[in-house]
Symmetry: C2
């Protein structure tokens, strides 16, 4: 292999948008480029757009693909990170898509694929809110609830590479139906989608005039900011629904504490960004109320610091490590 | 330090009985000695009995304490294994008891303390049902439900040393009150104690004549064998209660799979010993029914192989590792 440049592209592949950043060895961003994902156009169109987006970011940075040490991609899972295959992500239009191999062929650069929540948790561990800790649980409530684990100072992937599915932890066996087909997963009780269901019902029955004016009863309009605004405007019904969901999140956090005894839990994602410290503290209190004192005493609960940037930083760092090991 | 003999005492400290085994470097048992714990006599009396039991096993083996490399103790938790302190175990009469230090002073031999379920899981990993795997979850339903984790080929202890509290995973937030003070922990739904509650109620209301003849309605009489015998004799009510508890156990197993993506789950302890493969398969089916297909496909669910011996073997192996690192 040629002399390393230290340059790596970090790529955040989301259901709505994709971002490519060219980063130096010191994790400085030389340039970024962003595009809509438009997954409805299908996997091949999304793939072409990924290639374009990477090329555009390289052009802005004045870097040739051949100068890169590698590309780290943060993608929704499930995926096979060893083989570089996205297994099944309906919201990207991919099914058993060999994204790693296809990109390597197209660009002539080694590609490392990682679950986006794992990458985000790793980014917070390397440069964000979890710097300096060895045992970290990352939980990201948004449309779904993603999770990532740093155990003994390393990203923990388990046997399949897909460990960390905190969102599908069942905390109420007879709870609401979840998108995964189970009942009572924390995602079915505390995600933005779960909140939207409950708040839309309030709005529809006339109990939340502020929400109905903003979002109607169409769940698609329920962005995390809707809940934050309603609460700011004194809507106590919405506040009750959000508090309840934060308490359910706290139960899942408690289960993680009892099982893994982490030092710190990092909460990020859309709901946390919009609802902020108020929300984090409700979840934290519920966690402490639902766990064993000797395990929970020293556990810190903090808000993620890096936002969208976490996944890109994590993808870059994990790509470097994987390429070193290859 | 003198030349190592390879001889280590493995000690299983239980609420009912204690066992001391003198083991060779090849994990052969030279001799064992067993005594009742009689915890009601208080911590000092239990400590004196531990010393006696170790001495008796050494005498049987023809080994002097000074020949030992160390002593590995498997004790109920919570404990501080770094400082060798048993924090709080009402059923042993210990509270903040420096068992490690006291024994080292008494016998002049280094002592390593480990949670009994961790030691049991480690024993199954080294010599039992989980040999050759890297990611192992051990679950031991009995009076309570203990858990132990082997992650990346090592016993995982987390930040406090007390990770693995699978029994207190909340799977039904409005479930029955648990001994830990929470509601709906899997221990409150699937332990022997939980089963005893339900079956005693059946017996009390005349719905389980076979059980009432054997155990009455006093929960203390409900050993795991009572359930097994009732089911063997065709008691369908008891069978329903046991099946339900096994399914709850499967939900906790599913949560472990989603979170940790293990290769194998080892089930042991009193209930599993008495109810056997029939019970294990019900729990396994529930696990597969409650988890994500891509994480659960390859997961094996097996019965522990070493019984009580697992904790002693684990304690000996973990003591060797800890002493090497000291």
């Amino acid at each position: 292999m040629a002399q390393k440049s230290g340059l790596v592209v970090g790529f955040d592949l989301g259901g709505t948008k994709m971002i490519s950043s060219v980063m130096t060895a010191g994790l400085e961003v030389l340039a970024s480029h962003k595009q809509k994902t438009n997954a409805q156009e299908g996997g091949e169109a999304v793939f072409a757009r990924i290639v374009e987006t990477i090329a555009a970011s390289l052009k802005k940075a004045g870097v040739e693909a051949s100068q890169l040490d590698g590309i780290g991609i943060a993608s929704p899972g499930p995926l096979d990170s060893v083989k570089g295959i996205i297994l099944d992500t309906p919201n990207l239009g991919f099914s058993n898509f060999p994204l790693g191999g296809r990109l390597e062929k197209e660009l002539g650069v080694p590609v490392v694929l990682e679950n986006d929540v794992n990458a985000g948790t790793y980014g917070e561990f390397v440069r964000g809110a979890a710097r300096g800790f060895r045992h970290v649980v990352g939980i990201f409530p948004g449309t779904g609830i993603g999770g990532g684990l740093i155990l003994d100072g390393k990203l923990f992937r388990g046997a399949t590479g897909n460990a960390g599915e905190i969102g599908h932890m069942i905390i109420q066996t007879d709870g609401p139906l979840c998108g995964c087909g189970q009942y009572g997963c924390v995602e079915s009780l505390a995600s933005r989608t779960a909140l939207a269901k409950d708040v839309a019902a309030l709005a529809g029955s006339g109990d939340s005039p502020c929400v109905i004016a903003k979002a109607g009863t169409n769940l698609k309009n329920y962005r995390s900011s809707i809940f934050a605004k309603a609460i700011d405007q004194g809507d106590q019904q919405v506040e009750r629904v959000v508090r309840r969901s934060a308490r359910f999140l706290g139960v899942a956090m408690a289960n993680c504490v009892n099982l893994l005894s982490p030092e710190i839990i990092v909460l990020g994602g859309g709901l946390v960004d919009k609802l902020g410290d108020w929300y984090v503290r409700i979840a934290e209190k519920s966690m402490r109320d639902h766990t064993m004192a000797h395990l929970t005493e020293g556990v810190k609960v903090v808000q993620a610091e890096l936002g969208d940037g976490a996944a890109i930083i994590g993808a870059v760092c994990l790509a470097r490590e994987a390429l070193k090991a290859r």
